[in-house]
């Protein structure tokens, strides 16, 4: 497929997504479930892609994403709660004098949120990245818990407001904000993965010893991937804080990391497209499509058994087990979305169907029709 065609296709796709979102937006009266799921899905997509950068592309199995999100969310919250309402938020413990008047506009605060998360990644990176596979996972998991507990601990009450958490964090100014920010960040990650540095990350995933023998500085490149991943997790945390409007230490339990890991696994480890698709699917299933399982239901006079509060998670877990057992490579495996891939898919589809439809095989014509049909 020609480059020009691809660009046109991409622009059309972007326009279509925009129009769809616009339709959702104008039909959004009050609390539409669809709008909520889409926004949350976009936020999770960013965090999942950031985790995939580390787990899927660099081969470092990290479980610290929730910790970095918490760092981002709290940094963002502290810097953006309107100064006049800070007395109300910190009514119990008071607020640290330095922070009382420290306020930044939303975009800047978001970048600072990412930078704080990245800074902590830099701090713990040197010791933690020396560990291999499982031990690295345990260490990052521990870090994530330490962050959560520190945030809720009393010595930091005047900074993080302890277990009361932060409230009145400004929300999204427009329905499109999370999509734009998340989309832009994912685009940056995709560009990174396609660069020479991205290739080196993949080399480290494939074979550390060979990568090092090819002149790739392992510690430097691992550190890089870790910091970048944390930076975007921090921005994801900030987006989540905006979405929720309030954060407490319990917003970022270990379970959050597992949720994101699930998205990565279901989407396919090593596929950005997979992570994005899976994050919308998983969020929709969890928050929306499986909701009916939580309510007791009657079909005629028959009381459907098992359906009660919490059953949704049981079914969700079952679905996950099925995915992990039978679709181990996830939705996308390690493939990515590409127009060439789509074209090839349609061509195969046409080739398979044509003889069945016409009863005659026209190999040459088939090829052409298949191609034309898409382009």
């Amino acid at each position: 497929m020609k480059k020009k065609t691809k660009v046109i296709c991409s622009l059309l796709l972007a326009a279509a997504v925009f129009v769809l979102l616009y339709i959702v937006d104008i039909n959004n009266t009050g609390n539409s479930m669809l709008a909520t799921v889409l926004q949350l899905g976009a936020i999770y997509a960013l965090v999942a892609v950031s985790m995939n950068l580390l787990n899927g592309f660099t081969g470092l199995f990290s479980l610290g994403q929730a910790g970095f999100m918490a760092l981002g969310a709290y940094t963002f919250g502290i810097l953006t709660i309107p100064v006049e309402s800070r007395g109300m938020v910190y009514y119990l413990y008071g607020i640290n004098d330095v922070l009382a008047n420290a306020a930044l506009p939303v975009p800047l605060a978001m970048i600072v949120a990412g930078l704080v998360a990245a800074f902590f990644a830099l701090l713990i990176g040197a010791p933690v990245l020396r560990l291999k596979s499982d031990y690295f996972a345990i260490a990052t998991l521990g870090f994530s818990e330490i962050v959560r507990i520190l945030i809720g601990s009393s010595p930091l009450n005047t900074v993080t407001n302890g277990s009361l958490g932060l409230k009145m964090i400004p929300g999204f100014s427009s329905f499109f904000t999370p999509f734009l920010i998340s989309g832009f960040c994912i685009l940056v990650i995709v560009l990174l993965l396609r660069s020479s540095y991205g290739r080196s990350f993949k080399a480290i995933r494939e074979d550390e010893i060979a990568a090092e023998a090819m002149g790739i500085n392992l510690s430097k490149h691992k550190q890089m991937a870790f910091i970048i991943s944390s930076f975007f997790a921090g921005i994801g945390g900030a987006l989540l804080a905006m979405f929720l409007g309030a954060v407490t230490p319990t917003t970022f339990p270990v379970k959050l990391t597992y949720d994101i890991l699930l998205i990565v696994v279901i989407g396919g480890i090593g596929s950005v497209t997979g992570s994005v698709i899976a994050s919308f699917l998983v969020v929709a299933c969890k928050e929306w499509w499986f909701r009916f399982l939580d309510q007791s239901m009657y079909i005629g006079a028959f009381h459907v058994p098992l359906l009660k509060s919490g059953f949704r998670m049981v079914v969700f877990s079952l679905v996950l087990m099925i995915v992990v057992l039978f679709f181990r490579r996830g939705i996308m495996g390690d493939r990515e979305f590409s127009w060439d891939g789509i074209a090839a898919f349609f061509r195969r589809l046409f080739r398979r169907n044509r003889p069945a439809l016409s009863g005659a095989d026209l190999p040459a014509g088939d090829e052409r029709n298949g191609g034309d049909g898409h382009e």
Partner: protein, 280 residues
């Protein structure tokens, strides 16, 4: 008189009580093809690992183009149980990680092929070019250095053309036949622009025809890339055919050095390595 590219002086590598390489000294001159042979477990690969920075030598030094790239002397626990020679002669301690050694101009291949299996042939070569890149993370991500990237691609494709892998450049590395994978591993090592190429059993698992091809291939790249080649090999045909000089080691110790003809008639080598003297 050609100049020495690599000099290994009195290198001993001891792991606990096991002396894997014992008091080894070698020199490799510019443009030579030198082979290192010896029975299984003689310490050949350990010697390679010392040269490429995987291990720091327990004692002795490794010099590349007059620059010490690795050196060590017994310290700590090993000091009491040190069993090698030249104790106390070396006082320097130089440690370079493998990536730095590669940057200094030594590239290697592995005994068991270590390609980036799920990446394409072209990507495998591009990765080896990464370390010579000037662009930083930022300019590279936002494609501000696309000229350099383009040049990298052209260079890599050119290299693939030379080593006859151009036609399979888009294939996944693990899908190549065995012989081609070996070639690719050598091509990848060449992409790091080395002065010295270390080949660890390049002909392992190859049939005679593939081995002959490899012999021609190694000679060709030596001339085309003005390389010096140092190789470990078990295929005697290949070794005798290709080498300018041969080092023989057994139990970590050097037992002979010389041209292929000399080695073939060396009593100690026949006794220790070929083991055909028993029935005489």
């Amino acid at each position: 008189m050609s100049k020495t590219v690599l000099a290994i002086n009195d290198v001993t590598m001891q792991f606990g009580g096991v002396v894997a390489v014992n008091d080894l000294s070698m020199h490799i001159d510019e443009g030579e093809i030198v082979a290192l042979i010896g029975p299984n477990g003689a310490g050949k690969t350990t010697a390679f690992n010392v040269i490429t920075g995987v291990y720091q030598p327990t004692n002795g030094e490794v010099i590349l183009d007059g620059k010490t790239i690795a050196a060590g002397h017994p310290t700590g626990k090993i000091k009491k149980i040190y069993a090698g020679g030249h104790n106390g002669e070396y006082t320097k301690s130089v440690k370079n990680t493998p990536d730095k050694i590669t940057k200094l101009g030594i590239a290697r291949t592995f005994q068991n092929i270590r390609l980036f299996k799920n990446l394409t042939v072209l990507e495998n070569v591009l990765i080896a070019k990464h370390m010579r890149m000037k662009a930083n993370l930022f300019t590279d991500t936002f494609m501000l250095s696309h000229k350099e990237e383009k040049r990298m691609r052209e260079d890599s494709l050119e290299l693939l053309r030379i080593v006859d892998l151009y036609d399979v450049r888009g294939e996944i590395a693990s899908s190549l036949p065995y012989g081609k994978q070996r070639h690719l591993e050598i091509a990848r090592a060449l992409a790091t622009e080395p002065k010295l190429l270390l080949l660890d059993e390049p002909a392992a698992g190859m049939n005679p025809q593939e081995t002959d091809e490899l012999t021609a291939f190694i000679k060709r790249i030596r001339d085309d890339f003005k390389l010096t080649v140092f190789m470990i090999e078990h295929h005697m045909n290949l070794v005798m055919d290709i080498s300018d000089r041969i080092y023989v080691i057994d139990f970590g110790k050097q037992i002979a050095e010389g041209t292929p003809a000399e080695i073939q008639n060396d009593r100690r080598v026949i006794d220790a390595y070929l083991g055909v003297a028993e029935d005489e």
